[in-house]
């Protein structure tokens, strides 16, 4: 009995010591800027979100199920420098923030500025490339500015939850805005003659244009849209972010990013001469 009492008396001290030790570990972990880098290298894999319907950034081979595309190529290069392998994690834009919080992904490419997602995901401050907002219009449509598009007679298609919805609601509130689930359904709206134009990032516009047969228009004033890299917001990711920023700067400075984009567009059969003359990436 007395031994038990002795143990019980010692218990609080033991708990306190344990808590102190734990606090030290936590403090040590948060002080190490390499924690995230070390975790990825320790795991041996870089978990990269991949999505269907995002060609040619992400391309899933229908025959083999293997992933390629310019985002995947960038991921492979990053993984190679880290000495790890890329593990593709199939997901959707809508689930991406939860994927980060649940540690299901380590990096995401092609993120447009989005302060809501930015509350839980860290964005690099440098863009990997710069996109612009375009419209793909039915043949014969001739409105060239956002102001002209802001008219009740104009029927604009946007993708649900996408940044294009924000653009359309901000600049063309008077137009009829048709919200669709995904890109193929938007094209169907145009083909069914229920819409005049679809708002798209210019790189998607060059992909969609041949299906519509209409024109790619960069409405004035041109809205540039930087696409960058996002990582999980957590203690110890400073080294990881700093290293990625360094990598992105090199990609831009040596023309590697631009060259890669051009290569993948060509490989995917997209004609970059369709791009309006006043746009470069």
């Amino acid at each position: 009995m007395s031994r038990l009492m002795h143990t019980l008396k010692a218990l609080p001290a033991f708990v306190a010591a344990l808590a102190a030790a734990l606090a030290l570990t936590v403090a040590a972990a948060s002080a190490d800027p390499n924690a995230t880098l070390d975790r990825i290298r320790g795991a041996g894999v870089l978990k990269v979100p991949v999505m269907i319907g995002e060609e040619p950034g992400y391309v899933k081979d229908p025959a083999t199920g293997e992933w390629s595309g310019f985002y995947v190529e960038w991921a492979n290069e990053i993984a190679e420098i880290l000495g790890v392998k890329v593990e593709p994690v199939e997901t959707t834009w809508g689930n991406l923030a939860a994927d980060f919080q649940a540690n299901k992904v380590d990096i995401a490419f092609g993120l447009n500025p989005n302060p809501k997602r930015g509350l839980v995901v860290d964005y690099l401050s440098v863009p990997l490339f710069t996109d612009a907002w375009a419209i793909v219009a039915r043949p014969g449509f001739d409105k060239k500015t956002w102001a002209e598009l802001n008219d009740p007679s104009v029927r604009l298609v946007v993708q649900k939850g996408g940044t294009m919805q924000v653009v359309a609601e901000a600049l063309t509130p008077k137009a009829q805005i048709i919200v669709v689930e995904d890109r193929p359904l938007g094209i169907l709206e145009l083909k069914a003659n229920r819409a005049d134009a679809m708002v798209l990032a210019i790189f998607d516009a060059v992909n969609v244009q041949p299906l519509i047969g209409g024109e790619i228009i960069l409405p004035k004033p041109i809205l540039y849209n930087p696409a960058t890299i996002g990582v999980k917001r957590e203690d110890g990711n400073e080294g990881y972010e700093n290293w990625l920023t360094n990598w992105v700067n090199q990609q831009r400075a040596l023309g590697l990013a631009q060259g890669k984009l051009a290569k993948h567009f060509e490989k995917f059969g997209i004609d970059l001469s369709l791009l309006p003359k006043d746009f470069s990436f």
């Binding site: 229908p62 649940a102 169907l188």
Partner: protein, 217 residues
């Protein structure tokens, strides 16, 4: 005007989706039946705690939207508890528990639909509780349960299409994948609708036959 060629060209993706859909339907229905039976027995128990637990289970899963529950299953454990759960596991657990709540109600209602007097009579003849259940109540109750159980299983097969939200490659996810690179959503979704009809119409027909057989007795 429909371009059916793209379906032929991508049929291996649709077959894979169909296989996934059937696999999840069978696995989650079987698991759901087992869990549902336990929950129903709990609800019929003489112990208050078991009755309450069964009731809470049924009300929770019957009233939460499946889509919310699926996303929650896949993301909540890793976010709040740091436990990593694969999408396949999350899909099976979420769909099994969901359908179990409906099965449980079918089991409970089926057993309770048999007149209480029969049970008392069986007891008066000297049977134990278990014997009365096995020999008198269940044979009749099970026959009554078959039509609603098959109906619920058909709904379960259609519910598996929600797995596409956590990118499990079921028929619907494969359809959106094919339409994403062919830009032919009408053809693809029409085909998926037809596949469901081809599978489910014979099943509903069988369920109806079972119902008629039961009425004939």
């Amino acid at each position: 005007m429909f371009d059916w060629q793209i379906l032929v060209a991508n049929q291996h993706l649709l077959w894979y989706g169909l296989l996934t859909t059937i696999k999840y339907t069978i696995v989650t229905s079987l698991a759901g039946l087992a869990i549902g039976l336990l929950v129903a027995v709990g609800q019929l128990s003489r112990f208050f705690a078991l009755r309450a637990a069964g009731r809470i289970f049924v009300e929770f899963f019957r009233n939460i939207p499946l889509l919310v529950w699926l996303l929650w299953s896949y993301y909540a454990l890793p976010i709040f508890a740091g436990i990593n759960i694969s999408r396949e596991m999350a899909g099976v657990v979420a769909l099994s528990l969901y359908v179990a709540s409906y099965y449980a109600e079918i089991f409970r209602a089926g057993i309770q639909s048999i007149d209480r007097g029969q049970f008392d009579a069986a007891r008066a003849m000297g049977m134990s509780d278990g014997q009365a259940m096995r020999r008198i109540i269940l044979p009749q109750a099970v026959r009554r349960m078959v039509p609603p159980l098959s109906g619920q299983t058909i709904i379960q097969m259609k519910n598996t299409t929600l797995l596409s939200v956590i990118t499990i490659p079921d028929l619907l996810y494969q359809a959106s994948y094919i339409s994403s690179f062919t830009y032919k959503p009408m053809e693809v979704y029409t085909a998926v609708g037809l596949v469901f009809l081809v599978i489910l119409i014979p099943l509903t027909w069988i369920a109806r036959r079972l119902e008629h057989r039961q009425e004939g007795r």
